[in-house]
């Protein structure tokens, strides 16, 4: 029964993503309106507080809020060090970790609404036969050059600017700068029929500038996502935030040393984050900071038991040749699928490559 409903890990993940998209955008219908009703106010996935209908908040919201209003202002007042500053931040991280411990970075690959939306855009691109651009050497530049951006955004926009705002150094409009540039804020509020977050504040230059960046990102993501897999995930500070804790969750990607691996690189082709280390490295290094635990590398590894999704000692999914053979019948490792009929007909005179 389950096998017929979810013939592949990819199908199962898509169903989970769609359910989670509903929870993170419209979840208040089930869990309730108020903050206390939410699943968590420290989710390890983007879930926007500007969306009045969501089921939980992303951990980056209280992080900015506490650093701005508690730590920054607390330092200025130089009192109540423990109860006013450290404890709220600590409690926020503890609540975050209670969730993160269970499925780790799967929050990125299975729960995050923006990740799901980007995957849907990517699937549309594949169905319309739009050529895939890999973010790797010899293409748009080395993927490694993009990697530090997420850490810079985490340090600068989630920690530093809220702190300097709380200290009174930067203007109040820089109190939650990551939320202001977050495309998920625009995307999820638009999904609830609210255009307010798409509109830019015109009475404050800083807010205007930050909002403009968010809109540039969402615009780029909508069109660029047709040709590049997961464009925003690569610079998402929540990916960096989760990477800090990724070794502390039992959920992980396991690729033990094997002599017959490292030649085909199909796992890297399948990886929506274009992580070359998954094919080049083994052991601890193969589970890279950019990994979202989507499991595609394990699905598309043609060798038995080379790549596994594991929770502690338990293997939840392991690569197998038989599974690989069936999987590539429906979708190629880079996500290529049979384009829609009218796209195929239009492309026929030019080339037949899309039908590969």
């Amino acid at each position: 029964m389950l096998k017929s409903l979810f013939p592949t890990l990819g199908r199962f993940r898509l169903v989970v993503q769609l359910v989670m998209l509903f929870v993170t955008v419209y979840g208040s219908v089930f869990v309730g309106t108020y903050m206390a009703d939410k699943i968590s106010n420290n989710l390890p996935a983007l879930s926007c507080a500007y969306d009045q209908m969501n089921g939980g908040y992303c951990v980056l919201i209280p992080t900015q809020h506490i650093i701005h209003h508690r730590i920054g202002e607390g330092i200025v007042r130089a009192q109540q060090l423990t109860f006013g500053m450290v404890l709220p931040l600590l409690m926020s991280f503890v609540a975050f970790f209670a969730f993160f411990f269970v499925i780790g970075k799967m929050f990125c690959g299975w729960v995050c609404p923006l990740g799901t939306l980007q995957e849907i855009v990517g699937k549309i691109g594949r169905r319309f036969g739009i050529g895939l651009h890999r973010v790797e050497a010899t293409d748009l530049g080395d993927v490694k050059r993009v990697r530090p951006v997420k850490w810079l955004i985490l340090l600068g926009l989630v920690f530093l600017l809220p702190l300097t705002t709380g200290l009174g150094v930067t203007p109040h409009s820089m109190g939650n700068p990551f939320c202001d540039i977050c495309p998920s804020r625009v995307a999820t509020t638009l999904l609830t029929g609210n255009t307010e977050q798409l509109a830019l504040r015109v009475n404050d230059n800083v807010s205007f500038g930050l909002g403009a960046i968010a809109n540039l990102l969402i615009g780029f993501m909508i069109v660029g996502g047709l040709a590049i897999r997961q464009p925003f995930c690569r610079i998402c500070p929540l990916l960096a935030f989760n990477a800090v804790f990724q070794r502390l969750s039992p959920m992980r990607l396991a690729k033990p040393t094997r002599a017959n691996c490292g030649t085909c690189h199909i796992c890297t082709d399948a990886c929506p984050m274009d992580i070359p280390e998954i094919s080049r490295e083994e052991g601890r290094k193969a589970y890279h900071e950019d990994c979202t635990l989507c499991g595609r590398c394990a699905e598309y590894c043609p060798q038995d038991g080379i790549i596994k999704l594991k929770w502690g000692p338990f293997a939840l999914f392991a690569s197998s040749r038989e599974y690989y053979k069936n999987r590539v019948k429906g979708e190629l490792p880079d996500g290529t699928v049979k384009p829609l009929k009218f796209v195929r007909n239009a492309a026929k005179p030019a080339s037949g490559t899309a039908d590969a």
Binding site: A36, H172, N203, N215, L216, L332
Partner: protein, 298 residues
């Protein structure tokens, strides 16, 4: 085909963007400001005759304490109802002094919404002022707190705006009117705002009234007049009266409401930057020979 789709996408996005942008440009923020400013009631002038519990100053930014000032009601104490905490702290009366009444959450660690009531009783009348106060710490949802009857005639928000939200101009919100814990049908309800609006609503058979907050904020001054987070707030009061058991019951619920989210925002600019982002990504859509289905995919 792809060019056609791209053209439709660009045209579809541009049209509303231009329309919104021009609409915004036609009504600059400062237009009409001098005429309307003179009509603004001074801060100390009464904008309503209804009883109120107004927030006082909190210069030290205390989170576990708030100062409220009763207006239009004579009460020796103000009662604070909490959603959680020790039983003896769920309902606490605080004495009213000349500068107001200092209230606190059930315990310093417990926050979220608390319900605040001032009550005045004379031989022929019961007058109640009520408001909600949010203490910036985690705490229980106010659902049960709102459900529990707290005095005779009540106006109960359904729901209260959640954290990060609030009542705003042009929005519709539901309120339940109860008398002795029972919903009151066909009960008139009056909304007054500090900007001079006054509207009446009537509850339905289930005791609910849907209240439309008027769009009555004056245009912002060009010197950047605004409260925290760049938004402006105004005061409102909802009131209801009922005669029963030889007494006249008057109840009022006051809180603040914010300006419409569309004010000081431009959907045109927003859409334009979104479009620029889209255009910046369009070179990626160009088909490249051999880009798909390369050798390892086969």
């Amino acid at each position: 085909m792809k060019r056609t789709l791209l053209f439709l996408l660009v045209a579809g996005t541009l049209a509303p963007a231009w329309a919104q942008h021009e609409h915004h440009a036609a009504a600059p923020a400062g237009a009409g400001a001098p005429a309307t400013e003179s009509r603004r009631p001074p801060a100390d002038r009464a904008w309503t005759q209804q009883p109120l519990l107004l927030p006082g100053r909190n210069p030290r930014g205390e989170r576990a304490q708030a100062l409220l000032q009763p207006r239009g009601i004579t009460a020796e104490t103000v009662t604070v109802f909490a959603a959680e905490g020790p039983a003896e702290r769920r309902k606490v009366a605080y004495p009213v002094s000349p500068e107001g009444v200092k209230i606190a959450p059930a315990t310093p660690q417990i926050g979220n919404y608390h319900w605040v009531v001032a009550r005045e009783e004379t031989p022929g009348a019961v007058k109640v002022a009520s408001t909600a106060w949010y203490f910036g710490n985690p705490g229980d949802s106010p659902k049960e707190l709102l459900k529990a009857p707290k005095h005779e005639l009540e106006i109960v928000p359904d729901p209260l705006p959640r954290e990060h939200g609030r009542y705003r101009e042009s929005e519709k919100w539901r309120f339940l009117v109860r008398f002795n814990g029972q919903p009151l049908a066909s009960q008139p309800l009056t909304l007054e705002t500090e900007f001079g609006s006054r509207n009446s609503f009537v509850t339905d058979a289930a005791g609910f009234a849907t209240v439309l907050f008027p769009r009555d904020f004056k245009p912002a001054k060009e010197d950047g007049e605004h409260a925290g987070h760049g938004r402006r707030y105004g005061k409102f009061v909802l009131s209801a009266e009922k005669d029963a058991d030889g007494k006249r019951y008057l109840t009022a619920f006051n809180l603040s409401y914010g300006e419409d989210g569309d004010r000081n925002r431009s959907l045109g600019w927003g859409a334009a930057f979104g479009l620029i982002g889209m255009l910046a990504a369009t070179p990626l859509l160009r088909r490249r020979n051999g880009a798909q289905g390369e050798s390892k995919n086969a």
